[in-house]
Symmetry: C2
Subunit: 209 residues, 2 copies
């Protein structure tokens, strides 16, 4: 049975939020992936050095098995974009899995989909996430009843996608996706979670904001 994965993108998206899980989910048997934006065409990422191309307009998309909402500075700016939020609610009503990566969770929250649920987001967006009625949970991937799954910052979308792959297509297929992208991570340092990072690292990032 085909699996239709819809990934909305926008100017200011963080490319890895979308591309990490895409590389896993596109390998599912009979996967069909649609990148959709306000209008079909290129969307510049938050840095401005890269554009991803949407092949469809949001209004061309009527349903999804998996809705995957990426984050980025553009997601933060769109939490009051009512047409986008209405589209998210409309597609959510058709999905088996409604998911986010990083600050994509703020769009799910602003659309009213996280009220009363546990959820996660990028470590820098916890307060805003909770303003939508969600309870922040410092886990990398948070699964909730109703098929709502949120992932923490940026790279965590890969871990979430592998879990979704298992839920959708079973363990062997999911492990095959992991091997295909050779995801045997060996980060050279252990500074990838807020609780693990040094004061110097946090000061450096704070000064860059």
């Amino acid at each position: 049975m085909p699996v239709r994965i819809v990934i909305p993108i926008f100017d200011g998206v963080t490319a890895l939020d979308a591309v990490g899980p895409y590389e896993v989910l596109r390998m599912l048997p009979e996967a069909e992936v649609v990148f959709a934006a306000e209008a079909a065409g290129p969307c510049a990422d938050g840095d401005g050095s890269l554009s991803l191309v949407a092949s469809a307009a949001l209004t061309d998309v009527a349903r999804a098995d998996v809705l995957l909402v990426p984050g980025g500075p553009g997601a933060r700016r769109r939490v009051t974009d009512e047409p986008l939020l209405a589209w998210i609610r409309r597609i959510h009503a058709t999905t088996r899995w409604t998911t986010s990566v990083c600050t994509g969770s703020l769009l799910l929250g602003a659309a009213g989909l996280l009220d009363g649920l546990e959820a996660t987001t990028h470590w820098s967006a916890v307060g805003q996430l909770e303003s939508y009625g969600a309870t922040y949970t410092a886990r990398r991937v948070v699964e909730q009843p109703g098929g709502v799954v949120t992932a923490a910052g940026v790279s965590s979308g890969i871990d979430m996608a592998l879990r979704l792959a298992e839920l959708i297509a079973g363990r062997t297929v999911a492990e095959a996706c992991q091997l295909a992208i050779e995801y045997d991570p060996q980060p050279p340092f252990d500074s990838g979670a807020y609780a693990k990072a040094s004061p110097e690292v946090k000061e450096y990032l704070a000064a860059r904001r």
Copy 2:
């Protein structure tokens, strides 16, 4: 001092090979990232569901501090693309770091840059890598004299980029890049390296080729 990072892309690129390290390296102080292709404009990835946009033509690029060559089915097809190989050699002569992710190493190899060196690649491309005079090393990131650094399949480019960030800008900055993308990987299974995957997983992937 600015750090100029050049990422050549092409039809058939694996998007994550490029986007994973991009999200790390673009955060280096004074980073300037250029995605370049035969002609400026969109390049369809190997799956065909996503295009990345090159902002420059290869011929517009004269030098790089970091050359990062991604892989994908399009890389395998381009190992006899003499203009591309000549461009890689020309840019390599200007770099401090010449690097590859996944089967991007085949392009470095075909360009003659890996002869006599240790290198790595996607697990499915070992024989071809060695045909260029490289000695395959089953490590995730392989650093060689002369600033040649190769990474294993797809997702390994993130680990490589964090190591490059440390070499270029020091440990605190590199750890800040790791925290910014919340790279605290927690894969739900342990099937990300060929030596770890089950016979069923290998059979499944072999049948899909």
